[in-house]
Symmetry: C2
Subunit: 346 residues, 2 copies
DNA sequence: TGTCAACACGAAAACGTTTTCGCTGATTAT
DNA sequence: ATAATCAGCGAAAACGTTTTCGTGTTGACA
């Protein structure tokens, strides 16, 4: 087991100074052709690579990005990570991930662990609990210590930083308008409680679309699901709620759901109730994932372009990190959504 | 913007030496009660936290685990990451991820980037290209430099290290036996080319089950899909292959697929051909994911317990890292699979 | 022969810690 | 009164780099 070799060891072996070795490896003109070749050959032979940690300490930057997301077993977030990793690697950065598990405490702890020198900046999406408690001091502190943050998807206006979002309300409006213009007269929405910012915005888009069509919203067609209860196991209760919705409102002929899973489950319920999709009732979901693609019928969805969001977030962060001038100018990038039409709509 | 404070700054402010500050903060008995309180108060006030990078350099360990997986937008791998992250964090470690994208070169580069001091050890699953080329020199080098590796799922016997796997052939055998014992007479398998180790093993399990039932395998019931072609876009060709399979062999009444997607697609094809599931034909897939759960009918699958694999891998690695004695003894942990019975089987 | 520039290299500081060792002044024991 | 102990603190090394500055040797030139 040969341990990693260092400059010092090379220097000792070749009977020169550490500085000489360092310079020779970096092709400094200070060093004679002779010694340079000698050093480089030796270094290659022993497969020398500079120690990243030492470099980080010296340069006071780690070339590493910290990513904090609420959950990784989730198509959207893993796509974002892939995007981040893609451009980070291309630009010579590593990616270190922390999962908040939708918990405020874990979010704070994770940020503290990483903020002490391990990384140069954060890319994150806020946990539900944090959004609910509206306690953002950890973000403020991090930023005030000079560590840049880029937020994506779940953001909060109160914090000043770069942001990458989609136009949730616009995307939803388009989706609902698609339903309305293909003949739906009674479109229901399955959404979350309002504290989840995206849920609120998507509901707004639904209302906007109705207004565009001069229709007035019926409160009974708006189903606000308690998101806490839909964690894996409580799906039956969700099914029951949706079934009730359908039974109470026989005339529903279109459904817009603020995520993929709600839509898939709603389709299942509808099918069990004997409705034909898309003839009797049409469905559109938000956030394109594997489920939408492979469901039967395949689900029309609003694609959020998660990977693109990740790429953009990484670019914003790295641009910021490598910017010379220190003037603060935060930008908010809006990624366009796209309606992916499949077989759950006409 | 107040930059992070260091020992040196505290020392200067309080007019003591750096050593005194360090000792005071670590509650050394060398320091008088007086100065200790003074220093600790000051440190708390300015929210002092030791710089991780400096600590890493000094201790020659980073308390960080490098994870390299072929793909992150994949239910199984993201579950593994969650498992790794869970125990890593619990034991004070960070997780840094690299994606090989199933490419040999990216795998090598990623490992080199991380191996130069950034991490203490690797957890990885080998990329398909690497398996195909059978070039494992980067693993050997890493290990010979004293950096431990834990492999999971896609492993290779040639490399000596800790491993976490499932018993692919046993899990498959159980699945196929379930089909056979519930009445199937002609069970087909949809698998991959043999260089993917898990594909090969799962095929073996299929054969074992047949033998157990004194049935001889029919080559025409074994469909080996070229995995390269199934990347997102070439799904239609897969559908056609499966359709051909069904048309050639009208008597197929059971299908075992080596992954979730193949099974879902096969179900779709079967349904389009007018077969009833599970009455006419039964299906079982491998690797439990969202698709299986929410498909109609829901798919019976072999659950790999990805999160548990991740947890175990992290434990093995950290145990190794924190072990005092240097004796090498590599273990291979086999995680039990579990047949999750749903509606695609009787 | 003496001066100067060019060349090739080494010493040392710096990044932020921890830790070993040595030093000083005071208290205790002889 | 002298020696020995001890409490409390600081200096310095070490981790592995990069970089600035200094220094010695060589050759050319006046």
């Amino acid at each position: 087991m040969k341990k990693k070799i260092t400059l010092k060891q090379i220097a000792r072996e070749l009977d020169v100074s550490i500085s000489t070795v360092s310079k020779a490896l970096r092709d400094s003109i200070e060093i004679s052709e002779d010694t340079r070749q000698k050093v480089q050959a030796f270094a290659k032979l022993y497969n020398y690579r500079p120690n990243n940690i030492a470099l980080s300490l010296k340069n006071r930057k780690t070339k590493t990005i910290g990513v904090i997301i609420p959950e990784i077993v989730h198509h959207f977030f893993s796509k974002v990570i892939r995007g981040i990793e893609l451009v980070a690697n291309k630009r010579g950065y590593n990616v270190i991930v922390g999962l908040s598990n939708e918990s405020f405490d874990k979010e704070v702890i994770n940020m503290q662990m990483l903020a002490n020198g391990s990384i140069d900046g954060f890319i994150l999406s806020i946990s539900k609990e944090t959004l609910q408690q509206q306690d953002y001091h950890h973000f403020k502190e991090t930023i005030s210590q000079g560590m840049p943050i880029v937020m994506f998807d779940r953001i909060v206006n109160e914090i000043h930083c770069d942001k990458v979002i989609i136009d949730d309300s616009k995307g939803s409006k388009n989706a609902v308008m698609k339903l309305l213009s293909s003949g739906c007269k009674h479109v229901a929405i399955i959404t979350t409680k309002d504290y989840v910012s995206v849920g609120k915005l998507r509901t707004q888009g639904y209302l906007d679309a109705l207004e565009e069509f001069k229709m007035s919203p019926e409160t009974d067609l708006i189903l606000k699901v308690d998101d806490e209860l839909v964690s894996e196991d409580h799906l039956e209760s969700l099914e029951r709620e949706i079934e009730d919705l359908f039974k109470r409102n026989k005339k529903i002929d279109g459904v817009f759901a603020v995520n993929e899973l709600y839509a898939i489950i709603a389709m299942k319920v509808a099918r069990n109730l004997g409705m034909k999709i898309p003839e009797d009732i049409q469905f559109i979901g938000f956030t394109d994932g594997v489920l939408s693609k492979h469901a039967t019928p395949s689900l029309t969805t609003v694609n959020q372009h998660g990977q693109q969001m990740g790429e953009k977030a990484a670019e914003l962060l790295i641009d910021n990190l490598e910017r010379e001038d220190e003037e603060e100018h935060y930008t908010t990038v809006v990624i366009e959504t796209e309606l992916v039409e499949r077989n759950s709509t006409k």
